[in-house]
């Protein structure tokens, strides 16, 4: 059997998009020069932020660990070059919110010196055991380089009940404009394939499917060559139709295996692990060369730069540097995007750095990005239903989100929306649908937070009330006991009682004596009781 006979499956919806890939593939890949300042946000991945292990002013070597993450879902951070830690503090970071976040800033010394921070290469990597591979991937701070930046070590650690029979390699790169995976496969196919073998040996799947969109014939050719004679029935390069978002993990698993990842599950639940080609190359470098993840391939493209191209970039390099390397902005540049045009986010400033998941920078002119007309009411045409790869009813979700009917939105599976943007792209009314879904999700999350806080507050209040009540009750009981004791001990003044009772009795006796003395002059009768009370306090 040959690779071409592999059965392909379909996922519902998706859209054909103009791919705009040719612009950035004409120039060969070049290495971006070392920047003077590198900004490294502590949270470049899904999960908790890493914690700095260096101090301001400290000198670090290239590849040295500068921040570590000890949570299961997290990734370490390494110095991309040698230099001095200039600052540990908030810096503008590439994030949809446009806010700043804790980062480490390195002033490069220009030496780019590894010192001895390279991890020891694993000699016998052909027989690497799964735990060793996982630990190395974790030590190297590798995350999914396709854009989602999910810590890769987690994906190499399926739970015992998850039998992995298929390894899916994602070379689809379905978003328009982005070509870094394409260029990686064209120029470093051997590295990708070697990385694949490492993962394959660790996970021991029955088969391995490399999905590449059929608009990348050169990448397919290079990968096939790199695979060489090793292409067998169980390792295949599968050209897949170029339909956005076929490179989405769930969509790709569906197209290649026919399996649907459960709504709230992971590919491992259906026996599949999926890695991006860039991630495989990074895994190879970490294992065989001992290099942590400190640089990546970035596409700098769009009609808003003069010379679109792909660059090998030190993590932490400011976007502005890359723009300069791509010939600078055109006069009519309008929008700057990190990621693809469908799911990427607009940057407020080009001072932000390239991060691990930053696969593409698009500088776009107005005509490429602006909605052609005003936003009109939804006419329920259902184009969005046809386009939605998650099988949702976007027009209904829009309606519920707009009306703030969040219960209904969740009933219509709002959280199955992957924000791919297909619905907004086909909407004849120009409605920014995805924005409404993000709004609704955020509102639901914040309501959920508030609800939890309110619940916690209520619980605290309840506990306090209970405690006060208990104290009150205990006090009352103590008093009752004491009064009872006093009543009992007064008439039966025999021995064997405890000293405290004796004291009370003595006091009572004194009081009674005093009372008797005063009886002639005074009529106060409450004294014994009040004295008794005082003593109790």
């Amino acid at each position: 059997m040959t690779a071409s006979s592999h059965t392909l499956w379909r996922f519902h919806g998706g859209v054909k998009l103009p791919d705009h890939k040719a612009e950035s593939t004409t120039e060969p890949v070049a290495a971006a020069p070392l920047p003077q300042r590198l900004i490294l946000p502590l949270r470049q991945h899904i999960g908790e932020a890493a914690v700095p292990v260096v101090k301001r002013g400290e000198h670090v070597k290239k590849g040295q660990l500068i921040a570590r993450s000890d949570t299961y879902v997290g990734a370490h951070l390494h110095a991309p070059t040698s230099g001095r830690i200039a600052l540990i503090g908030d810096q503008p970071v590439p994030h949809p919110s446009g806010l700043s976040a804790p980062s480490i800033v390195i002033e490069a010394d220009g030496e780019d010196d590894w010192g001895d921070s390279r991890m020891p290469p694993i000699e016998d990597y052909r027989n690497i055991d799964p735990v060793k591979l996982r630990n190395r991937v974790r030590d190297a701070g590798i995350v999914g380089l396709g854009g989602a930046a999910f810590p890769s070590a987690v994906k190499l650690n399926p739970r015992p009940h998850q039998k992995i029979d298929t390894l899916v390699i994602n070379g689809a790169e379905c978003e328009p404009y982005i070509t870094c995976d394409d260029m990686l496969m064209r120029t470093q196919a051997e590295t990708v394939i070697a990385g694949m073998h490492l993962v394959r040996r660790a996970l021991k799947p029955e088969r391995c499917l490399i999905g590449i969109e059929d608009n990348k014939p050169e990448a397919i050719r290079a990968m096939t060559e790199a695979l060489g004679g090793e292409e067998r029935d169980n390792i295949r390069i599968v050209p897949i139709p170029s339909i956005y978002p076929t490179g989405g993990e769930r969509q790709l698993v569906r197209v290649l295996t026919g399996r649907e990842v459960p709504s709230e599950g992971l590919p491992a639940d259906v026996g599949v692990v999926c890695h991006n080609v860039g991630t495989l190359a990074a895994i190879y470098r970490a294992v065989v060369l001992g290099e942590p993840l400190i640089s990546r391939l970035v596409t700098v493209t769009g009609s808003g730069v003069h010379r679109p191209r792909n660059l090998q970039v030190y993590l932490g390099t400011p976007v502005a540097d890359l723009i300069a390397l791509a010939g600078g902005y055109t006069d009519d540049v309008e929008r700057l995007i990190m990621g693809g045009p469908m799911m990427g986010f607009a940057l407020a400033s080009d001072a932000v750095p390239i991060i691990k998941g930053g696969n593409c920078i698009i500088a776009a002119r107005a005509a490429d990005v602006e909605r052609p007309g005003p936003v009109m009411p939804c006419i329920r045409c259902g184009e969005c239903v046809k386009a939605c790869p998650a099988g949702l009813l976007p027009q209904q979700l829009y309606w519920f989100s707009r009306a703030r009917d969040f219960d209904k939105a969740q009933e219509y599976s709002l959280f199955d929306c992957i924000e791919c943007g297909c619905c907004a792209h086909v909407c004849p009314s120009n409605i920014p649908l995805v924005q409404y879904y993000r709004f609704a999700k955020n509102e639901i999350w914040s309501q959920e937070r508030e609800r939890r806080q309110a619940e916690a507050a209520k619980q605290r209040h309840e506990l306090r009330r209970e405690r006060l009540e208990r104290e009150e009750r205990e006090k009352a009981e103590r008093m009752k006991r004491k009064q009872a004791a006093a009543q009992q001990t007064a008439p039966t003044a025999d021995g064997g009682e405890d000293p405290k009772q004796a004291v009370i009795r003595a006091a009572l006796a004194r009081a009674q004596a005093r009372k008797a003395e005063q009886a002639a002059q005074d009529t106060t009768a409450a004294a014994p009781a009040s004295e008794n009370d005082n003593e109790n306090r």
């Binding site: 309008e334 045009p341 469908m342 407020a348 998650a390 792209h425 086909v426 995805v434 993000r438």
Partner: protein
């Protein structure tokens, strides 16, 4: 350098409401031309009048509601509503009937419910039903294609008929008007005449009534073009015409002398126009794929029921409005299966 930020996606959409509406209007041209061929200038005058009234009402209501005229006045939805109304009424309908019908359609059925996108009922059909019920005499002034072809009323004469209600000397309304083929069948069957006998008259052609069958075919051409362009989905037309064919075929097989043939049903009256242009109005139709099948099937079944046993000879308008009422219910129970979820995990 600093930039303004926007939410993704960052690719310009390829469609627009104007384009959708514009394509539907283009697709109406062959059928409208055929109607003009068989029924004379009246059709064009009605279309022009209805479109003018629709645009005027749209502008008026936008002003009353404090909205800007653009983009709504140019979205072509008012033009489409007026045009569809004009195709539904007889070719020499008095001008004030059009005024009342289109006015009601735009003011009440469309704008009082919130304007484009918010109307639960098809505005053109609401307007048509209002005049059908209010002015039954005027609404039966359908012309006989064969008579009209001989008379060849000129444009000024047609104007006079529509705006002044006067006919050229020597002509009376009775001479030029004739019951529609659907009317003839209904009346004839009501009088216990066998269908073969009723159809044995110069009013009937190969498929439906003379003239009507060709009009239907040309609307079919426009409708198929819309399907091919992806402007409308296949579900509603296929389900509606399929159900109509199936039901009428079943009864026709039982007794061809009391029940007209499926071909006659499909190529008479407004079945094709309704299937491709009226029931497919996205705003008032069901919006889920399976819901559209149910919606279309419901319209087809109701058309057959009304034509066969109802008080009106044609039932497309009533059928569409009745199914419009069912839309929220249909949509609720026909949600598609969400990726990664089992049908069991979720209703629908």
């Amino acid at each position: 350098m600093r930039f303004k930020t926007f939410s993704s996606p960052h690719m310009a959409p390829a469609r627009s409401v104007n384009r959708v509406m514009g394509q539907v209007l283009l697709a109406l041209i062959p059928g409208t031309a055929a109607m003009t061929w068989y029924f004379g200038w009246g059709v064009l005058i009605n279309v022009s009048l209805a479109v003018t009234v629709a645009l005027a009402c749209e502008a008026l209501m936008l002003l009353v509601r404090g909205r800007t005229l653009t983009p709504h006045i140019t979205d072509l939805s008012a033009v489409l509503a007026g045009w569809l109304f004009a195709l539904a009424v007889p070719p020499l309908t008095p001008w004030w009937v059009t005024l009342v019908g289109v006015g009601f359609a735009m003011v009440v059925a469309k704008h009082l419910y919130g304007g484009l996108g918010y109307n639960p009922f098809n505005p053109a059909m609401v307007g048509y039903v209002v005049v059908l019920i209010s002015f039954p005499r005027e609404m039966t002034l359908w012309l006989s294609p064969s008579v009209i072809a001989e008379l060849n009323l000129s444009l000024p004469q047609t104007f006079a008929a529509i705006f002044a209600g006067t006919l050229p000397d020597g002509l009376t309304w009775d001479m030029i008007t004739a019951a529609t083929p659907l009317d003839r069948i209904q009346t004839g069957v009501g009088l216990a005449h066998p269908i073969s006998e009723i159809q044995n008259s110069p009013f009937f052609g190969y498929l439906g009534g003379v003239g009507w069958e060709w009009i239907g075919l040309w609307f079919l051409v426009g409708g198929l073009w819309l399907l091919k362009r992806g402007v409308i989905g296949w579900q509603i037309p296929v389900a509606m015409l399929g159900t109509l064919t199936l039901l009428s075929g079943l009864f026709w097989l039982i007794n061809p002398e009391t029940y007209a043939s499926p071909l006659f049903h499909v190529f008479s009256g407004a079945a094709i126009l309704g299937a491709f242009f009226i029931a497919t109005d996205p705003v008032s139709a069901s919006t889920t794929p399976r819901g559209r099948l149910i919606f279309g099937a419901g319209v087809g079944a109701l058309v057959f029921v009304i034509r066969t046993w109802g008080g009106y000879a044609e039932g497309v308008a009533f059928a569409v409005l009745l199914m419009n009422m069912m839309v929220p219910l249909i949509d609720h129970y026909t949600q598609p299966r969400v990726f990664g979820k089992t049908t069991a995990g979720k209703e629908g």
